[in-house]
């Protein structure tokens, strides 16, 4: 009789604990996912903002660049708020990183609408790198590295990000930013794109439509790559932009595919 009572008590205690712990755990996971998504978005926006800034400044597809710049800034601010909202239990290091992101965004907003100068252009490149730096750290702190589908989704998002990054350094180079660091970073982004694309190529469960997109990417990438790495000789900002857009269009098909898979997991 006593054993039955103890058992009942343990079961009740277990249920009560589960009622408290499971929602808290689920909320933590939801918060992590939201934070990771926001940080990944910041990584993309950070590159898109500076890319648009230089296209606008160089007068290449100016209206579109102005619109892209405005939209990316709105998204960046929104995503930073999501990250700030989840800071209650953050470590000192993570809080410092958020200070760094806020600081950099303030500095960027201070110059983005000011008349163009070489100094402001140099700073715009660096601010985009700083935002990326901070967002990368946040992703590392919250990403669920155990989920294979989520990893693939993140890989596709990285490919999109690398393209924006390559394009940013390319157009900055055309604007006269030909220093050592920018060339190194562009070439590294090209290499990182290829490493990540290999992961996508190893995936075997694509549907017909998404497989067609992957094939198009693989077919076109070697051509586009030549334009990108030829940065020190060529000057083809319109062709580079069109190449990036073509690749991004196919990558978005893959992104939707993996997004659906990750959600159903």
């Amino acid at each position: 009789m006593k054993t039955v009572r103890y058992l009942t008590a343990e079961i009740i205690l277990g249920i009560v604990c589960a009622l408290y712990v499971v929602p808290a755990f689920a909320a933590d996971q939801r918060h992590d996912l939201l934070t990771v998504e926001a940080a990944e978005n910041i990584k993309f926006s950070s590159q898109a903002i500076t890319k648009a800034y230089f296209y606008k400044q160089q007068g290449i597809r100016q209206d579109r660049a102005t619109e892209d710049l405005k939209k990316s800034l709105v998204l960046l601010k929104k995503d930073l708020i999501i990250i700030q909202d989840g800071l209650q239990n953050a470590s000192k290091e993570e809080k410092n990183i958020v200070v760094y992101l806020e600081y950099t965004l303030d500095e960027l907003l201070d110059i983005v609408d000011k008349p163009y100068s070489k100094d402001n252009g140099a700073l715009m490149i660096d601010y985009s790198e700083s935002l990326l730096e901070g967002a990368d750290f946040i992703v590392g702190q919250h990403a669920d590295k155990q989920d294979a589908e989520e990893r693939l989704l993140v890989s596709v998002e990285h490919l999109l990000f690398f393209l924006e990054r390559i394009n940013k350094f390319y157009i900055a180079y055309q604007a006269g930013f030909d220093d050592y660091n920018n060339v190194v970073q562009l070439k590294r982004a090209v290499k990182d794109f290829e490493t990540t694309l290999a992961k996508i190529n190893a995936y075997t469960e694509y549907t017909e439509g998404s497989l067609a997109s992957r094939n198009k990417i693989n077919k076109f990438w070697p051509v586009a790559k030549e334009f990108f790495v030829d940065i020190e000789k060529g000057s083809l900002p319109v062709i580079v932009l069109a190449s990036v857009e073509k690749l991004e269009k196919e990558l978005k098909v893959l992104e939707n595919f993996h997004h659906g898979k990750a959600m159903n997991n």
């Binding site: 990183i97 660096d126 700083s130 050592y180 660091n181």
Partner: protein
């Protein structure tokens, strides 16, 4: 009448002796001060310590072809400023020990200086950084020795504020050296040391008595702390991405803010010291004070006698 005269004489005699003693004491302090270091000497040496790392930062920026804020021009101008600081120090009267220390610093700077006048080379950067590191470490010690010699209470806080400025430029120089692709096996240790040293100085200044570090100065220090946090995030990252223009801007922003804090700190600490510790009198002026005082006693004594 005769009696009255004797009484008056006996009253004035002790006054004469007291005033003479006072004059001698004043002369003693004034003469001593002329051999002591002045607050100005501390400022000059502190500036030299700060400028050395600032030059190293500019050297790396020029080397990696970063054009933000024209580092090549800054490099040339800062070299001139450095020379001027040494010239200003040469003309000052300090004791033999300090004079020898200043000569030692000047000699060691002149051994490094030609490297800064050459076209920056990546292969030279690490060696140059190590030489500047050694130079600034000794420079800081000499600045502290000079500050102690001034006898000004709280002058240590002025040196601390200057050290904060030096650490900020050191952080920038180290970071930019890495951004240039120079491999330094001591990089992480050095950065850790700068971050820890900065935190230590911050704590010491923020916890100092308000008579030495005012509320206004503390508020300004807290404001600059955000820049330091942002800079240390960049410097401690292992991502392989670098932001040289932003680093240069932040280094200058911190440098300017700390110069303004340093000015406030100097006014606060050095503006409050008691007269005889201020280097207001040289031997000639001291002699003048002595003559005025003794002359007055003598004259008054003569009239009354």
């Amino acid at each position: 009448m005769q009696h009255k005269h004797i009484v008056t004489k006996s009253i004035y005699l002790p006054v004469r002796y007291i005033l003479t003693l006072l004059a001698v004491t004043t002369l003693f302090f004034c003469t001593e001060v002329s051999a002591n270091a002045s607050a100005e000497n501390v400022h000059e040496m502190a500036n030299i310590c700060m400028q050395a790392n600032r030059l190293l930062k500019d050297y790396a920026l020029v080397g990696m072809k970063v054009k933000y804020s024209d580092p090549a021009k800054d490099l040339k101008e800062n070299l001139k400023i450095m020379e001027q600081e040494f010239k200003d120090l040469e003309g000052q009267k300090v004791n033999d020990k300090l004079a020898a220390e200043i000569v030692e610093i000047e000699k060691s700077w002149h051994a490094i200086k030609p490297e800064f006048e050459k076209t920056p080379a990546r292969a030279e950067m690490l060696n140059l950084r190590k030489r500047v590191e050694k130079f600034t470490a000794r420079c800081e010690e000499v600045a502290e020795d000079i500050s102690k010699d001034t006898g000004i209470k709280g002058e240590h806080n002025v040196v601390l504020a200057a050290a904060l400025g030096m650490e900020s430029q050191r952080l920038a120089a180290l970071y930019l050296m890495k951004a240039w692709g120079v491999t330094d096996s001591d990089y992480e240790t050095e950065i850790k040391q700068v971050v820890e040293q900065t935190e230590k100085i911050y704590n010491e200044l923020l916890e100092a008595k308000e008579e030495f570090v005012s509320k206004e100065i503390k508020a300004k220090l807290k404001k600059v702390e955000k820049d330091f946090i942002a800079f240390s995030v960049m410097a401690t990252s292992n991502s392989g991405r670098f932001m040289p223009s932003q680093a240069a801007k932040m280094a200058t922003k911190i440098f300017k803010a700390l110069r303004s804090i340093l000015d406030m700190e100097q006014k606060l600490v050095e503006g409050k010291v008691s007269g005889y510790f201020m280097p207001v009198a040289d031997e000639k002026t001291a002699g003048e004070i002595f003559r005025v005082l003794t002359g007055r006693v003598y004259a008054q004594g003569e009239i009354k006698v």
